[in-house]
């Protein structure tokens, strides 16, 4: 990029600029922008081809119209990827004429003269709108949206709804007992999660991990681990722990525990990132150690919101623990699943009402407690 003439800058700034803009770093940033553009353009091209195939009336080997899945199978991925790469390259080379590309804008910021334009006057604005529109139409076809069935075929579900409306008292007793188990299950999972999430969340907060190479590495590792953990559904964790410790509520506790740690670390660390830095600076200035700075500058500020998040998490865990039983993780779900499979809708109705009342009450209680704390 040609240097834009600017006010004379001082020697220090000149030296900083040279340190920051090594050719290597510049190159990496260029490649990042190019890559983002290539991916975005590829998405547009793929969806265009998808829509073209869907509306061309082309038939498959069976003589029927192609299903969305068959179309996805037939898209010309390699060629479109090549084309996307080429187009991205063109856009990045001639961005002055075309307007800043989305990738370049993301990685290095838009050109000065584009900064304050409304989206209708930038090419990347139009590109974004095209991308969103295409995604919506393609999504409509891929998920096989059927407006007519939704509006006219309610009668087929009537049996189930009628059953739910007429709960049977047969499972009430057993349901209540398992409900108690469900609430304790959620509580234990939350209790086990608190100390670990508390300790780890400091390593997952950006503002506390800028100091040196090791803390930045710890941040990256913790974040990645937690994101992966959260990406795996509690149901899957339940299956893992059922084979580990056997069917029963403890497997459910472990499944919700793992998921809660990851979720709480995210909530806690975001809270840590938004604290007032003043007390941290004041304590640092006394010559306190890093742990003392955390204890005096950070912890007092985050305790009330942490409590609030934790209660909220218990609330979520109660909701989740009703499902955990579906696969054998204990709780009320354990007797719900077979009745769903058998179509015993009256009994299902009873259990659903029990769950709904519990969730509703947890919701009110946790909201009240959180109101008091914050």
């Amino acid at each position: 990029m040609a240097a834009v003439p600017r006010d004379p800058i001082s020697d220090v700034q000149q030296r900083i600029l040279e340190r920051q803009n090594t050719p290597w770093k510049k190159g990496v940033r260029r490649l990042q922008g190019l890559f983002v553009d290539a991916v975005l353009i590829l998405l547009v091209l793929l969806m265009l081809e998808f829509l073209a195939l869907a509306f061309s009336g082309r038939r498959g080997p069976t003589g029927l119209l192609l299903t969305p899945e068959e179309i996805l199978d037939r898209l010309t991925y390699p060629w479109l990827a090549l084309a996307a790469g080429f187009l991205a390259l063109v856009w990045n080379l001639f961005y002055r004429a075309i307007g800043t590309s989305p990738g370049r804008a993301l990685v290095r910021g838009a050109m000065k003269e584009e900064e304050n334009l409304p989206w209708t006057q930038t090419s990347r604005g139009w590109f974004s709108v095209l991308l969103i529109q295409l995604t919506f139409f393609t999504g409509w076809l891929v998920t096989e949206v059927q407006v007519v069935a939704f509006l006219t075929k309610f009668s087929k579900a009537q049996d189930i709804v009628r059953g739910l409306m007429n709960p049977s008292a047969d499972v009430l007793h057993q349901g209540l007992i398992l409900l108690v188990q469900t609430i304790f299950l959620a509580f234990m999972a939350t209790a086990f999660a608190i100390p670990i999430a508390f300790a780890v969340s400091f390593l997952a907060a950006r503002n506390l991990t800028r100091a040196n190479f090791w803390s930045r590495t710890a941040y990256l590792v913790v974040r990645t681990l937690m994101n992966l953990t959260r990406a795996v559904e509690p149901l899957v964790w339940a299956l893992i722990f059922i084979s580990w410790v056997g069917i029963g509520p403890f497997a459910g506790v472990l499944a919700l525990w793992v998921h809660s740690v990851a979720a709480l670390v995210k909530l806690y660390s975001e809270q840590i990132e938004s604290i007032d830095n003043g007390p941290v600076e004041a304590i640092t200035a006394t010559g306190a150690s890093t742990l003392q700075v955390l204890r005096y500058g950070v912890v007092p500020q985050v305790i009330p919101p942490f409590l609030s998040f934790t209660i909220y998490r218990w609330d979520i865990n109660v909701r989740m623990s009703t499902i955990i039983g579906f696969v054998g993780g204990g709780g009320i779900g354990y007797i719900l699943k077979p009745r769903v499979d058998l179509g015993a809708w009256g009994e299902v109705g009873t259990l659903v009402i029990l769950i709904a009342v519990t969730v509703w009450m947890m919701d009110i209680v946790s909201a009240k407690i959180r109101e008091r704390i914050v």
Binding site: P8, V12, T284
Partner: protein, 264 residues
């Protein structure tokens, strides 16, 4: 300790070629050289954005200087790391415009936190301090006129009271140097002298060297023994309180300030 020539002047802080460029490219300090002598009450002047806060924060490394060197009592602060850095910091107390107390802790705990630099003990994690330290803290609270308030929560106090707690914290730190960044700017004008007099007390009675930024020219004239003026990150004037006349004032504040140049 007013007349600089009366005694042999020992250096408390020596700043050499100090520059700071923030991550966004703002040049906040540009090659500042400055020596502060023991026992001085040095006031740093300058328009908003001239780099006063940045200068003070570089001295105890709350901000990492980009270039340059800072010696505190002859020891290199800029090269210090780990334990050495913490020990050197514990000799430098700081007083902030926004007080920066731990709001949910008691006044007493806030004062006691000034001693954290020398108490690495386990007890400090449970807000426990030795009886000697507690006695000292109560004494300092009395000195700043807050006896009986030691068990109040810090945020239950008024601004002026909070700043006096911060001064007690600085006393507790038993520092040799005090950095005060606009210590009275968020206080009622009527309260300013009461807080400033306590800072003067740190200087006169405790023999602490003070580096202070102030906006109010009356306060500057009343408390400073020496002055330094910054503009756009450069030192543009330096002199004693007597030399700071109206002409100098116009020189520092009068002309239209140029905003500091920025790098893309």
């Amino acid at each position: 300790m007013s007349g600089p020539s009366e005694m042999q002047r020992r250096e408390a802080v020596r700043i050499e070629g100090l520059s700071k460029v923030y991550d966004d490219g703002t040049l906040a300090l540009d090659g500042v050289d400055l020596t502060v002598y023991e026992g001085e009450f040095l006031v740093v002047l300058g328009l908003s954005g001239s780099g006063k806060s940045t200068l003070l924060r570089c001295v105890n490394r709350l901000i990492e200087p980009t270039e340059g060197r800072i010696l505190i009592h002859g020891e290199d602060m800029t090269a210090a790391t780990g334990r050495t850095l913490r020990r050197m910091r514990s000799d430098v107390a700081m007083i902030f415009q926004q007080f920066n107390l731990v709001r949910r802790h008691t006044v007493l705990t806030n004062v006691l936190s000034g001693s954290l630099g020398r108490s690495g003990r386990l007890g400090s994690y449970f807000l426990r301090f030795s009886e000697i330290e507690r006695k000292k803290a109560l004494e300092f609270l009395e000195r700043v006129g807050l006896e009986g308030r030691d068990q109040s929560r810090a945020d239950a106090l008024s601004g002026g009271q909070q700043q006096r707690v911060a001064i007690a914290r600085a006393l507790m730190q038993e520092a040799k140097l005090v950095l005060a960044d606009e210590p009275v700017a968020s206080l009622d004008p009527a309260l300013r002298h009461s807080v400033m007099r306590h800072i003067e007390g740190l200087n006169r009675d405790e023999g602490m060297t003070v580096m202070c930024t102030l906006h109010d020219i009356d306060l500057v004239r009343r408390y400073a023994t020496r002055l330094v003026a910054l503009r756009a990150g450069r030192k543009v004037w330096e002199g004693t309180a007597d030399e700071f006349d109206d002409e100098t004032f116009l020189e520092i504040y009068g002309q239209e300030a140029e905003p500091a140049a920025e790098v893309a």
